[in-house]
């Protein structure tokens, strides 16, 4: 473990030094975090609903094979073509084939983290399709050639001034001296640019927040209404969803929807919650002629068989990242992965392997806020710890191995620990008595480079505690 050399650590260091990014991240606690607290306070049943949410997902995952079959049966009965994709490239191939059969030229997309996971945009563009992201944050990201830095607020790392620069560059047909200082002006410009894309699209691709087995429906949630234009205007609608999105019934979906917006943005309910069941009906005046649902595995079935199954409860609200001191310090891009924050730290090693992404589990202070706010009670801290154990067994550096072994030896033996602590207090306290602190210390150079290491004063914590228990003065 030599963090200074790892790409993750250097990305994190760059992020901390990036003033623009830091300014953008500074708004997260006052925004999403405060809004969630208000929404939770307004709903006395919120904590009980979290347990309900957990139980619903556990039941669905425990019977996933049967609910997938039930979903397929009911979706097919509603006229949907259901496709199964084991891998990212299977899913992309199916979507390309649908686009080819539809003689598509222009494809609109509404926010889908699964599409990011399989790199769909690039694959469609490689096949000479024009792909337009329609979620406003995603649209900005697409113009910049970046990836989302947050699962529900993809452009959270940018300020209005950054986006104004991008729009001037990208919308070069508009007058260069136009006023783009307000968010409202930027939104209006994006709206104007995207309208013709919505209207001209041949195929619309959305994700799904939930799939409902009993009705064969996909549930899609947005505040902008971009998913609704994407799934109503083109000739073909494609839903791309991973297999763990299926829940048994609408009642189960309502319970989870009561948690989703409150946990993520802190809204009572998202502006548009849409249940889509099949293509347009014979007498419908609008809607697509065809509807496809792609059920993607891409590592979920393996994860289901491990002791990390709880990760699959995730409903992608983003609360864990909003409340994470590490995420809020470095932003999503520093993680270098599709999913960032605590959920990324437990999901990415499972999806791409611990060699590739195990280090993300180190990016936590284990403060536990993530699992305290998770709407489906995923034990995120315990899962990150398990990835740390796996990384430690697989390829640790000698230094961390020796230090952690020594630490493990001591903490399992209270007497030895107490003795070592007393020795340390006496020795370091005695040596450092003069100044009360060390300006440099062996093996602690990375600490003392930036601040002094205080010298211990007096007694160990255990000794003080024992004295207090005996009622003696401190």
């Amino acid at each position: 473990m030599s963090p200074a050399a790892s790409p993750f650590a250097s990305r994190a260091a760059n992020a901390l030094a990036d003033l623009r990014l830091q300014r953008a991240l500074a708004d997260v606690p006052g925004g999403f975090v405060a809004a969630r607290a208000r929404a939770k306070a307004a709903l006395p049943e919120f904590e009980a609903l979290r347990r309900t949410g957990r139980d619903i997902k556990d039941h669905a995952l425990g019977h996933l094979d049967l609910y997938l079959e039930e979903f397929e049966r009911n979706a097919t009965a509603a006229g949907t073509n259901v496709h199964w994709a084991s891998t990212a490239s299977d899913a992309a191939d199916i979507i390309l084939e649908i686009c080819r059969a539809a003689v598509a030229r222009l494809v609109t997309k509404s926010k889908s983290m699964v599409s990011e996971e399989i790199g769909l945009g690039a694959k469609l563009e490689a096949a000479a399709l024009e792909v337009v992201e329609t979620d406003l944050g995603d649209y900005v990201i697409q113009i910049r050639g970046e990836t989302p830095s947050h699962i529900i607020a993809p452009a959270i790392h940018l300020g209005p001034a950054d986006i104004a620069d991008d729009f001037r560059r990208h919308h070069s047909h508009l007058p260069q001296d136009r006023d783009l200082t307000s968010p409202a002006a930027l939104v209006a410009e994006a709206r104007g640019s995207l309208r013709p894309k919505f209207l001209g699209a041949d195929v619309g691709i959305t994700g799904a927040n939930f799939l409902v087995a009993k009705t064969g429906s996909a549930i899609i949630v947005t505040n902008e209404g971009n998913a609704d234009l994407t799934l109503s205007l083109p000739r073909v609608h494609i839903v791309l969803a991973s297999i763990e999105k299926v829940v048994p019934t609408l009642d189960d979906a309502w319970a989870l929807l009561r948690l989703l917006a409150r946990s993520g943005t802190g809204q009572e309910f998202t502006a548009y919650t849409t249940l889509v069941t099949g293509p347009r009906r014979p007498d419908d005046p609008d809607g697509p002629a065809r509807c496809h649902v792609i059920l993607l595995d891409n590592g979920r079935s393996e994860l289901l068989g491990t002791d990390m199954r709880e990760v699959l409860r995730c409903i992608r609200c983003g609360a864990c990242m909003n409340h994470c001191p590490v995420y809020c310090s470095i932003g999503g891009h520093a993680y270098g992965s599709v999913y960032a924050g605590p959920i990324g730290a437990v999901l990415m090693p499972a999806l791409v392997g611990p060699q590739e992404a195990g280090e993300l589990a180190e990016a936590s202070t284990f403060c536990g806020r993530c699992e305290a706010v998770c709407p489906v009670e995923i034990p995120l801290v315990g899962l990150m710890r398990r990835w740390r154990e796996i990384s430690f067994r697989q390829a640790p550096g000698w230094r961390s191995r020796v230090l952690l072994r020594g630490w493990a030896f001591l903490v399992r033996r209270p007497r030895a620990y107490h003795f070592a602590a007393r020795l340390g207090v006496v020795l370091l306290g005695g040596l450092g008595r003069g100044r009360g602190a060390y300006a440099s210390f062996p093996f602690a150079g990375r600490w003392t480079r930036h601040r002094e290491l205080p010298a211990p004063q007096g007694h160990t914590f255990q000794a003080l505690w024992a004295r207090r228990q005996r009622g003696e003065p401190r």
């Binding site: 509603a78 084991s86 902008e224």
Partner: protein, 223 residues
């Protein structure tokens, strides 16, 4: 091929034994048949008047305009007055829903009423909600032969008529009303739950209305 492979992997991961098969199917069957309803928030279980009050307060919090009219016959006039107050042209696009078609439109001769799915240059769309959900101030609209879904998303202004007696507490109850109205368990192609006009917080975290869909939503509460 992927289908069989994925299902086999899921079953292997869940360590499904043939002996458990009947019990698992029974558990799933019971769940699908409606066993085990979940906790519904107390706020959704008030009296009729309390629910209407809650519904109205959430509309206000979303920034949705509320126009109350005593009788259906007053809707055309109320629409004209609303459009005038917003400085909008007197025109709406609407579906052929009989609940709207049979209103006394002759009382509003200046209002141009066109029928069919929304077009790109339509400024106002008029729809009917089957129900209103008090627990979050949510309108429930179903697409169908007489109710184009695009009316709710393409025009700048979305006008929605909802009757006071269809304001219910929860999403679950609203689904009950939808099933009664459609006369079948099969959902329409889209069931749209609408809680305010289109908005985004994607630029600088500030909420801006009218991201892609309507800039404003007006609810005409009848009765």
């Amino acid at each position: 091929m992927s289908r069989a492979a994925i299902l086999a992997k899921v079953r292997a991961a869940l360590k499904v034994e043939p002996a458990q098969d009947a019990a698992r199917r029974a558990a799933v069957g019971a769940r699908l048949a409606g066993a085990g309803g979940h906790l519904v928030p107390a706020r959704a279980r008030g009296s009729g008047e309390e629910l209407v009050r809650l519904f109205k307060s959430f509309l206000g919090a979303q920034g949705t305009d509320l126009i109350e009219v005593a009788a259906r016959a007053e809707i055309p006039g109320a629409i004209v007055r609303y459009l005038e107050a917003q400085n909008l042209p007197l025109g709406v696009r609407t579906g052929s829903d009989p609940n709207l078609a049979e209103l006394p439109w002759a009382d509003a001769p200046d209002l141009v009423r066109e029928c069919g799915p929304a077009r790109p240059d339509d400024l106002a769309g008029l729809s009917r909600a089957i129900a209103g959900v008090a627990e979050t101030g949510t309108l429930v609209l179903a697409s169908g032969p007489h109710n184009p879904v695009t009316l709710a998303f393409l025009p700048d202004t979305h006008l929605v008529v909802v009757r006071r007696e269809t304001i219910v507490g929860s999403y679950e109850e609203a689904c009950g009303l939808v099933a009664v109205e459609l006369g079948s368990a099969r959902l329409p192609r889209t069931l749209n739950l609408i809680s305010g006009a289109s908005r985004t917080g994607d630029i600088g975290g500030r909420i801006v209305m009218g991201a892609h869909g309507p800039r404003r939503l007006a609810v005409f509460l009848v009765g």
